[in-house]
Assembly symmetry: D2
Homo-oligomer: 378 residues x 4
């Protein structure tokens, strides 16, 4: 008789801290973070996850936790999970790992999430010049619907997805990441606009031991120190997938990830109840804890066959995302145009970021007509 039902592989207790979980979490990418679990191709397995902040942001109606949020700790990930084939042979570097999202949702008993804007003092975000103060809205989930007591009258059907899904980098790939990010920090002025240089915005978040959590590697040991000083941050998307934030990556989607280390070492986290076009729009997704039910296949040698290097080495590849067949049917659909002219009326040369910001501000403003404050719309 065939097997059925999802086998629990990474359980989460939302009352515990990320490092207290039965299978401890991690918040960096590194080949030496040991796998905490194993899954076999063909089986459906369940991975639970905390929200990106690891419970640091609570469902209390206060912005204090947002104001003091520690950016060094994002994002807490579940895994790594070692993937083996039916003969027990692990995924190998050069293979392609196909990860199907069979099901996903909030954790039973923890059906809530939040949206927020970070305080300018604390790093801020895409619209920080317009909304410099920390804000927070709590959302409650009723099946496919979410509503917030902070934004009365709004209730909508979400399209839930994990913000991060990725494989572990090899040491060689990690070195490439660290080298190019270091270069950016050191010599980045050439790719910065002059105005940005004057405003001294940070260019890259290089490895740092601060806030670093490495799963089974005990904090403070020499091994921990070494890994923490090398491990890549989780904020940018990279060749291993990572923080892709694709709003339609929901039920039935399939991600084709390159394998860089034996076992693939799959990690995932940063669940979103729903998200706009781009996480930055409307100040990010509704952040939540949750679960994924996944099913993997290993395509032997598939990395070379399906992914073409996009840079100087065979490691410069990009994953492929196949979107699932289910999404809400919305009745109304407005598009806002943004042009590359800032709010002082000054034009910038083909600046997609300014144009996008203008389109978002435009949308925020439009929603204000219906009686919401601008902060509610963000």
């Amino acid at each position: 008789m065939a097997q059925y039902g999802a086998r629990m592989v990474v359980p989460i207790d939302v009352k515990k801290k990320p490092w207290e979980q039965k299978l401890p979490l991690h918040n960096r990418w590194h080949p030496d973070i040991p796998a905490v679990a194993e899954a076999t191709v063909g089986e459906v397995f369940r991975v639970e996850m905390v929200d990106f902040s690891g419970g640091g942001i609570t469902k209390d109606y206060t912005v204090k936790d947002i104001k003091n949020a520690d950016p060094s700790i994002v994002h807490y990930l579940s895994g790594p999970i070692r993937i083996v084939d039916k003969d027990g042979i692990p995924a190998k570097p050069g293979d392609l790992l196909a990860v199907e999202i069979c099901n996903l949702g909030p954790l039973p008993g923890d059906e809530w999430g939040f949206t927020a804007t970070f305080d300018r003092e604390n790093g801020g975000g895409f619209l920080t010049d317009h909304f410099p103060s920390a804000t927070k809205a709590i959302w409650y989930f009723e099946g496919i619907y979410a509503y917030s007591p902070h934004i009365p009258g709004v209730r909508f059907a979400g399209l839930t997805h994990p913000g991060i899904v990725g494989t572990a980098p090899s040491m060689e790939l990690l070195n490439i990441w660290n080298e190019r990010e270091r270069q950016l920090e050191e010599n980045g002025l050439h790719s910065l606009k002059l105005c940005e240089v004057l405003h001294q915005r940070p260019l890259a978040n290089l490895p740092s031991t601060k806030g670093c959590v490495l799963g089974k590697i005990q904090e403070g040991t020499p091994e921990w120190e070494k890994i923490a000083r090398e491990a890549a941050r989780t904020i940018p998307g990279r060749e291993n997938g990572g923080n892709c934030d694709i709003k339609n990556l929901s039920r039935g989607s399939k991600v084709y990830l390159p394998v860089f280390v034996e076992g693939a070492n799959l990690s995932t986290g940063d669940m979103h109840f729903s998200q706009g076009d781009g996480e930055i729009s409307f100040c990010g997704a509704i952040e939540m804890s949750g679960f994924l039910e996944l099913k993997c296949e290993i395509i032997r040698g598939g990395m070379k066959e399906y992914l073409t290097p996009m840079g100087p080495t065979p490691l410069h590849v990009n994953p492929i995302f196949e979107i699932g067949p289910v999404e809400p049917r919305f009745s109304e659909w407005l598009v806002f145009e943004g042009i590359s002219v800032d709010e002082s009326g000054r034009q910038h040369y083909l600046d997609a970021s300014i144009a996008y910001k203008r389109a978002v501000l435009n949308a925020i403003d439009y929603l204000s007509k219906f009686g919401y404050s601008k902060e509610q719309n963000v």
Copy 2:
């Protein structure tokens, strides 16, 4: 702080029989079947349910259970659930009960279902002349997808829904049902085709104590005897909703049910993983156990305001079904035409049932071109 998460109202243990459940099930409609639980408007509550056969049909790879299926026991329903408003005042006759399906799915650990054709000896079904023997296929669920070892190569995204959702009839409405069904049995020849008269098919399933399960009412007591002799069967859809089998009644749908007794006494069951256009097509849906997460509103006096009597009394109303915003996006879509000419080449006068049967047989035949047996396609 707002409430969130679904409150468990009717739990199911699939290892137990319908009458052994903590909140015993019922398989008839009657005003005197006592409510087993209560839910308040606005709260999201969870109702679990067995499959329509109450576990009589197993996941063993044998048709014996189908062959011997006892038609007197269908369908085991969860409930009745008494619905009250925030002040504790129950729904009243004449109100409208809006039931929103916030979420639904298989029971964790029981992610499987079955399709089957009944044996001609045992009642048969829509296509029994073509497929007289009992058949059974087991389907396993992988999130939104189902596959069957009995139909290799097929895997598809389902649209899960409860086949039955209804309120309890009042005694007056129940009498109407019993009277018209008795009349049909007694004088039904006028509405039967002559050929059907010759084949002596049963016209209606009148109340019968055989196989009757009445929740908290203990079998064999005088109260049980009385109710069992009056209670309506669950097979036809009626004014209270009942066996509506609407394939799109999935996440986000809302059903507006008339209230005939105090508390509304909502019951539900007969979960389907997926279904064709009409349950009979392809021999019914994929039957399964499962759960619903529901949220109710009471629209005081809404029955008169929104539902118009369609017969001689104010009780002759029909519920309204508002379909939810989520459904799979299929890539290919074929339509088969059926005409009112039977397989001997004889034409029948505007016979929608024959035309439908021909369209179904046509589709079955088409699928056979791809190497499946006709039984696999049914």
Copy 3:
């Protein structure tokens, strides 16, 4: 250089009568109605058509034309069109003709249509017991939208399609049709319900010279007399496709029709701006004149390979309809349940027609709540 643009094959002048058109129309199925035009596989060709009544029903705001509509003349079809391959070899009996609908729409300058209920005196329709008088509503088209001055406040996006598309029957198939329809008329009582017998409804519309129009065959000639007495009526759908009335058969759809005569002799007509689920629902589609841009392929020998006989001869086949990728996205979706109990409260045995009628009446009634008369909703 490749060919492009649709070649006009059947032009229509809506100011002329069906028999005055440059390529005269026909309203019967018969192998000896000569082709009026030819099209080659691979080319996109344009077929224009009158509305089903051939202009008998006008855009005047009066029901007189509905009241006196002559049922003997429906449906005026454009064609037959002989289909040949790139070497000029015509489609042969046993081939399959794939007809793709590349584009369709109203005739420029004739962007209007009508819905109507026939008078009981004049045959009536599905809901004639409820709406015995003739009614008519004129609809004007604004691109994808239609509105009617007779139903104020309603404007919706339609899904335009031809109600009829079919190939000419062979003499052998025509004989089968006539024989089984004659049998139905003569011995039909066995398949009639007793109540229908008492009401003496006509069972089949057998060939009749009255109102018969046969394209290039001149009325009154011996040839015309012979064909008119044999030719099948266009109302029922049959093995050749015919009056299929599939509401989604719009842009991008593909119909696979069996070929029974040399050249296939494709005919089409009965354009609908939009239609419910089943033409009878809400009393039919919005009838209109219009155009199709078609592209054909011939699949040699495909009839045997793709269509299985569903009756005693190889001619008992059914076409396949592949639905196109474009349809409106509606925001709200209600389902009405119909049960097999008539408006007097009497139950009928699994009577799909009564149940359907009840669902339709139910929907009509629901719409009345918004201030429309029942006739406006029909």
Copy 4:
């Protein structure tokens, strides 16, 4: 009786040059370009248009016309059309003009289009570093489908839309445009990346008499000289709508445009058969001539009520685009991730343009696996 059918307002003869058309075209924005036609609110009117190049790019299978394309002439627009209400009172500055796209399509007999990449010598495009040579593919339309002999095996359903729809600017707004674009050209280095400074890419296309076509204003007259020196180019989107290139702006969409001059002076052009996400992706849309059937409403004073100024003056507004209900249903959907690391492996700081380019190159590369050259995929 109601009016119906679209009234021809701007006819096009594709055999004539833009300035030879019955109602001559224009390719600049200026308040003094006189209206060539008038339309009344509520009526459906037809506007035909040439392709953006005004026929300069032909359906010959040669890239010579692409190589020598004159960038000073884009885009030829139809109009301006003066919009008046039912009392003949024109739209006034401060009003909002709602323009509904009732229908659209290719011009009968001109059902073809082209995609192209410009030669680096001639300005190039988004991917010019990767594809420096001029390329061209001709596409033929078969209803909703397009295919190209230059990209064998591809045939897909498009979503046709006008790339440009806008109202005339007032002199005050035009001055703002010219001033900020002049500033950008003069002082733009601060918003340029250093590397771009080195490559000396043009920053803005300021008004220029070269290639200027101004409708009814005769070339060479003093009036023409004055307007040509002031009139804004059509390439950027601006407060008046303009070159918005929204791929879903198809049948049933509605654009809310601010009115800056009496009569609104609506112009439109740059029809696209289909387009990716962003016109630059895959090197732009399929360019074509075509027609729009439009219907307007004037919302008196609506500019202030619905559009909030996003800059220092009340003129700094943005139009709103309401997307129509019809779009193709695609069966497969892949997403490609782009990261801000260029092809030499160097990382750039949050550079959306590089990330987007990488995603596009990634997609191009993926399609190459199926046997297409990279140029075919672009």
